[in-house]
Each structure stands twice: as structure tokens, then as C-alpha cells.
Amino acid sequence: MNTKSEIENIINKNDVCLFMKGVPEAPQCGFSMAVSNILKHLNVKYESIDVLANEEIRDGIKTFSDWPTIPQLYVKGEFIGGCDIVKEMFEKGQLKELLENKKII
């Protein structure tokens, strides 16, 4: 399977996916930690993908979304944003609203 189909497979199979550095219990970067903490705070069940453990996914996801940084959050196959956007949406209550509308929480 090529990297693009592997990524499509991951985001189609899981309602909420977080491509991050490290794992939720031990994030390896402050930005990844911030987003995983927000998801935890909102009680969201999500699939986390550690890009540090897979170089092809790490590069592939940046091309896939045309977005140069990690973390990246996907909900129901849609790219929601990186750390800044997710944080801003969370602070404005928009992230909770989106997750509720998509019947995630």
C-alpha cells in the first residue's frame, strides 16, 4: 500500500485522528501535547498516529493535507487544522460544537 492510501485508510477508519509527535501519554512536542490535552479535556476518543515512529507517514501527511507542520487533526475524514487552529476553535467553543454536530461527543 502506498503512503497516500495508508493515510486515507487511517482517516476513513477512525472518526477522529490525531497525527502527532509521540503518543498521548508521552507527547514529544508541546504543540502535539496541547492538542492531545484538548481532546482529552473534551473526552474525545481518538486514534493517535505517532509520526516519529513512521518517517513515510510523517512526510506523507504533510503532502496529503498541504500543511507543513505536525500535529494535524482530522474529524470524519476532514482536515480540521494544526495546533493554532484547534486551540483557537477550542477557546471559542467551536471545536466542541463541531464534535457534537458530527456526533463524536
Binding site: G30, F31, K62, D66, W67, P68, T69, F79, G81, G82, C83, D84, I85, E88
Partner: protein, 76 residues
């Protein structure tokens, strides 16, 4: 690798000429920044598209020389 504030501003202005830019060096190490940018080009497009315009103006430096730049964008 560090990128000075003036260099970041210059790159952004080249692509987004009407941008009002406020950059803070968060840790005083020329490596962790936050930037607040407003431009008419952001009017009517999504946050993702706004941030992509900023990333593109930085010509591949984001994620490489520039690890930590948090971005806030708005239209004007």
C-alpha cells in the same frame, strides 16, 4: 536554526503586501515565535486557507528552520 523576526516579516510581506504583522519572540531565543497577522486576503476564506497563505509565504521554512511559530490570522 533560528530565523530573525525581520526576516519572517519580510517573507510574509512579499506574499501578503497589505499584512499587518505583530511578531513576538516567546522565549527570547529567535526560535519560538507567535505571529498575529491580518490582511484583506484573509477575508472570506477559511482559517486553514489563511494559515496556508502564511505558511506558503515562508517558502518551506515552516517545519524546517522555523519550528515554533504559532499563528493567529484575521481578515480586515
Amino acid at each position: 536554526m533560528a530565523l530573525p523576526i525581520e526576516e519572517i516579516k519580510k517573507l510574509i510581506i512579499e506574499s501578503i503586501p497589505d499584512a499587518d504583522i505583530e511578531i513576538k519572540d516567546l522565549a527570547g531565543d529567535s526560535n519560538h515565535y507567535s505571529a498575529k497577522i491580518s490582511s484583506k486576503l484573509f477575508n472570506g476564506i477559511t482559517k486553514i486557507e489563511q494559515h496556508k497563505l502564511v505558511y506558503k509565504s515562508l517558502k518551506g521554512k515552516m517545519g524546517n528552520e522555523l519550528h515554533a511559530l504559532s499563528i493567529t490570522t484575521e481578515g480586515k
